[in-house]
Symmetry: C2
Subunit: 338 residues, 2 copies
């Protein structure tokens, strides 16, 4: 099968064997999305080698084999594939949570492998990813996609869940003044998720075309160069710019005892004046992955718009060019179709 | 009167006029304590000029004058001094909250001027401080000291309140594993306050003599060089080392979704890997001043020990030498007696 791989410091579409699955499900990818994390990996910043990509929608091609003893954990290549496991059946359209835990630690036992110390992460840590014709994931990671959601929207489930993760980390009151730093796809998703709480949302960005999208959604927009005029105005600020400068800008925008949520990861250090966090008693909350259920609900009810975030679509064979294109300023989501 | 002042980049004990008070109380300082913030100011790092010092215990010398209209706000120099205001009387022993707000903003109106944008801060921002024979503060800032607490302990009320401020910012469960980075006077106070919650407390430090004090209080102690062995072991970490390296060590010690409380302020930038905060979903909470009531309760009931934190006492006239001494490694609290 074809897969977009980063190995030996080189990004290329390669022909590799289809994943072997005994105790996991095999999924035929129908559409995948390029995330800034993919770009960081392709720059060699994340220490990952293999098939990249973690945003996808696909069809269950094979479920784990049923072992003669009746448990999939003991299944062998001689056992027949299952036709259904739990709510999942062969041929079903699914999205997949990207963290696969050890299944045994206390975090995994309560159903949240997102911080399992031994986790693999689809296309990010120790597990081949989604920019490929097929991928494998534990059955527990797969979630059926409601019929109302087309593939082009379902592929946003993972990044939208990441935006929803903000609300798992901080409680936002309906009368809060909220700001989002960054007008990229993550920032635009975060702004929409914040707005579902009733909070007023201001988006700080650098790109006219992206700020126009935010304006169409009813958000106040501010060019980052003018951000200082709004110093100490906000109760909560989401840093989604992917740039170290976003951290200090966030501290500028917050009033005392405000909350800065860090969403974007990027390579390298950030120089901060930690005394400002102390003197103004700021809370800084890191936020990574969110649960998919909340995101699928928002997509099913059209409570957020992802249509305007789709910039371009490429075939998987054209994956290298697609990644280059996704890195250009002004672009939003670039999709890959196997 | 004598006062220890930093002005024109020079620290000196000078003779200056006694503070003029119409609408504030005049307090005769009986004992003051040297804080690391004093050292930062005396190095020219904090932008403050005037009498330094903000930890004190003293005697009310004069209460605000009673105006003919009956409100102290309108008092003039012709009005007679009051003998009592609220629970305060002339001659009473008091400590004083160091933030004096505008009295009109929403924060001041609910009785918490600690983040008033127009606040002055005793010996730190726009207000002469406590290393002097007399100081003035608003009546609302003064709190009577229970008889059971000797001056030498009461002078710890402000830094102990700062340690108690941690519990205003984060809730700590009785089964929490807590760590304190820094074996200075602030770290040793923080460790004792944390222990009042029932949490187990480990103190990370660099000085054998200070770690011994912590050990006497029943805390586990670890030399900072060996800290990495305890990576990902703690639910909450208090950074009280006064060093930029404490921030990153705190991130090392916390398990995912742990809480790092920043207590110490210091001059200059800190280089952090912000991605670690995101990936491990750490919460970083700045904490500055706490309320005095909680601290006085702990002192009155002997729930914390401050006796072992007193290193030396100097006369106010010897203030410059006292500050030099307080900056030496191995020293804890140095007191000044006017």
């Amino acid at each position: 099968m074809k897969a977009l791989r980063y190995e030996n410091r080189e990004l290329a579409v390669r022909d590799i064997p289809k994943p072997q699955t005994n105790d996991e499900a095999l999924v035929r990818v129908t559409l995948s999305g390029i995330c800034n994390t993919d770009l960081e990996i392709a720059r060699g910043y994340a220490g990952f080698e293999g098939t990249i990509g973690h945003e996808f929608v696909g069809i269950i091609e094979e479920l784990p084999r049923v072992s003669k003893a009746g448990t999939s954990a003991k299944a062998s290549a001689d056992d027949p594939p299952s036709l259904s496991v739990g709510l999942l059946t062969q041929g079903q359209r699914v999205v997949g949570e990207i963290n696969a835990g050890c299944g045994r630690c206390s975090l995994c036992q309560v159903g949240d492998p997102r911080h399992c110390a031994k986790r693999t992460v689809l296309g990010i840590v120790g597990r081949d990813g989604a920019h490929a014709e097929f991928l494998k994931l534990p059955v527990a990671n797969l979630i059926p996609v409601p019929n109302e959601i087309p593939d082009e929207y379902a592929v946003f489930t993972e990044p939208l869940a990441a935006a929803c993760g903000i609300l798992e980390r901080v409680s936002i009151k309906a009368d809060a003044r909220a700001a989002v730093i960054g007008d990229g796809k993550l920032g635009l998703l975060c702004a929409q998720v914040l707005a579902t709480t009733g909070a007023s949302v201001t988006l700080f960005g650098k790109h006219d075309n992206k700020l126009r999208i935010a304006k169409r959604h009813g958000f106040e927009t501010v060019l980052a160069d003018n951000a200082k005029l709004q110093a100490r105005q906000f109760d909560v600020v989401i840093e989604a710019s992917g740039s170290p400068s976003g951290f200090n800008l966030g501290l500028d925008l917050l009033h005392p005892r405000g909350v800065l949520v860090l969403k974007s990861t990027f390579h390298g250090g950030t120089n901060i004046d930690a005394a400002r966090i102390v003197v103004n008693e700021i809370t800084v909350a890191g936020s990574r992955c969110g649960r998919f259920g909340a995101a699928l609900d928002l997509l099913r009810t059209n409570a957020v718009d992802v249509d305007s975030l789709i910039s371009e679509e490429f075939t998987l064979s054209d994956g290298v060019r697609a990644l280059q294109r996704a890195a250009e300023p002004g672009l939003l989501k670039v999709l890959l179709r196997p």
